[in-house]
Amino acid sequence: MKQYEIVETPIDIQQYSDYVLHPAAGAVTIFTGNVREWTHGVKTLYLAYEAYIPMAEKKLAEIGAEMEAKWPGIRVAIAHRIGELQVKDIAVVIAVSSPHRKAAYEANEYAIDRIKEVVPIWKKEIWEDGEEWIGAQKKYPEKGVGQ
């Protein structure tokens, strides 16, 4: 495994937890984002994720660096899966360790928010009667997102 990676196979969360754990860490938070069956009343059959892999891994590492600057002493590992994912499958795992629990919780939530803003990964929902690439429409920003 890598500390920040895009993977094409099922995510085993234990290795990311093990990666961030060390003797001074009194807390480890693990967040997993999973495929949800129902979204706004529409039933998802499965999801297809796609990524610009080299840039996505670079952005994940940048998010990790932002987190370490904001919460000194934490350790971070993040993985996002691409390809076809079924209901309940893990799409993303974020593992954060810290000496005390508050930083691990806060930093973990920060990570998923930033992933949804800047990491070039796209999700297509496939339903019984159609499919669509998901993504909030927005105008070109004055300054590049994530810079």
Binding site: Y52, I115, P120, W133, G135
Partner: protein, 77 residues
């Protein structure tokens, strides 16, 4: 030559993952205009451009040898 990459909706719209443009330089704005006129429905006003794996500004210049990517609104997580 400038390389451009397409992902997600744009990969399906253009029917290709990448192509090269025979240009020495152009701005991000010019690249988006080219894409919109070449591929109707591209939606250039919602798309960011990455140059060499970093988000670029609309007035930035792209040079031959650069690798660009059109980044539609992301939806990871």
């Amino acid at each position: 030559m400038i390389q451009v990459n397409y992902f997600a909706r744009l990969r399906e719209l253009t029917g290709k993952g990448q192509e090269t443009l025979d240009r020495d330089s152009m701005t991000v704005s010019e690249l988006l205009d080219w894409a919109e006129s070449t591929y109707p429905g591209f939606g250039a006003d919602t798309i960011q451009v990455a140059v060499n794996e970093e988000y670029a500004l609309i007035d930035d210049t792209i040079y031959s040898g650069d690798v660009c990517a059109f980044i539609p609104p992301v939806s990871g997580g």
